[in-house]
Amino acid sequence: MNFNSLLKKLMNKPGSKTIAKKRLQFALLTDKLEIKTDTLADLQRDLVDVISRYFEIDKQSMKIDIQRSEEHSALIFNTPIIAAHRRREIPAT
């Protein structure tokens, strides 16, 4: 053990590997939250199908997105409602 590492140990300073491990664990976590563009498009299509049974929605101006921050990530789905279908108008599933 050389002088520098001895000093580091005496000062109880963690080595750079502690940082490496933390960064790695965080990177793997965010990597796994990432999804394919196709998946998002498929989800949007399915959501439109389901919501259209209950509401008339503006398909053009609707948006789906994933928001990530350091603490959490969220699926944001935003659509203007034009009208609600009356109950008897709900098409059969």
Binding site: K8, K17, K21, R23, D31
Partner: protein, 266 residues
């Protein structure tokens, strides 16, 4: 009985896949198995030079697939180690010259001829990777104790699981001194992050460069720690799965050893 096909992969390039494939192949052959190592990196072949067989290439893997030669004609026999063969990659063909179904066909042929087939997978997750994985029964994932390498290994492990293969991990280029000083991820850290089974730890070893320079197999070099580690991995692959995994340690001199006996443990 049919032989088995093992893919050596990593995701990231430059972590030692080719050296490890060549060395484990040589070690398995020395243990008496009939072994073929296959270079899957079409267009960027390298396994031939690492093994010192580059001057003897006549046919390559694409020639076999395109039916321009027999497997026996393309497989180069290593003259220093009995029962070790190399099927080189093609240097001139395109990456997509081989399709997954071609590899399944070839792997079935090789299972009949050889006890163990080792596939040296190219870096990345494209065609070469897919071709290698589709033909494999087992997988070895190589990583070094670096953030970028471990991250890529994690991705590769996920892709292997998706193909119903449970890979084993090799941590390569460990520098014990740096691990002790807390400046390098230890193999425990790597296993903790990746949560897969370990099959070997390889220490950083200058002999690897010398071996690649001369084309002399690492496992034939008496004084190579890395070579010894690869021989032990080969034993674990072939009948001794419970052979203990040695943790690379700092080689201490007599006086240092004596010193550490008297110094306070921390």
């Amino acid at each position: 009985m049919d032989g088995k096909v093992i893919v050596v992969t990593s995701g990231k390039g430059g972590v030692g896949k080719t050296t490890i494939t060549a060395s484990i192949g040589a070690a398995l052959a020395l243990q008496g198995k009939r072994v073929v190592v296959v270079d899957m990196d079409i267009g960027l072949r390298n396994l031939d030079v690492v093994m010192g067989l580059e001057n003897r290439i006549v046919f390559n893997i694409v020639d076999i697939i395109k039916n321009r030669c027999k497997i026996k004609q393309a497989a180069i026999k290593d003259r220093r180690i009995d029962n070790l063969f190399l099927i080189p990659a093609s240097q001139s063909d395109d990456k997509d010259a081989i399709k997954p179904e071609n590899m399944v066909w070839l792997a079935n042929k090789l299972r009949k001829e050889f006890d163990i087939t080792l596939l040296d997978c190219p870096a990345g997750i494209e065609q070469g990777f897919r071709n290698s994985v589709v033909a494999a029964d087992e997988a070895l994932v190589v990583c070094t104790p670096e953030v970028s390498s471990v991250r890529d290994a994690d991705r590769i492990i996920g892709l292997l699981y998706a193909q119903s293969i449970s890979p084993k991990l090799i941590v390569n280029r460990i520098v014990p001194k740096m691990v002790e000083n807390g400046d390098m991820l230890s193999h425990e850290d790597v296993v903790d992050v990746l949560s897969i089974d370990l099959i070997g730890l390889i220490e950083m070893d200058d002999r690897v460069v010398v071996s690649a320079n001369t084309g002399m197999p690492l496992v034939l070099q008496e004084d190579s720690k890395a070579g010894k580690a690869m021989q032990r991995i080969a034993m674990r692959l072939d009948g001794h799965p419970d052979l203990p995994i040695e943790n690379p340690m700092i080689q201490k001199g007599f006086w240092k050893k004596l010193g550490s006996k008297f110094s306070r443990k921390n």
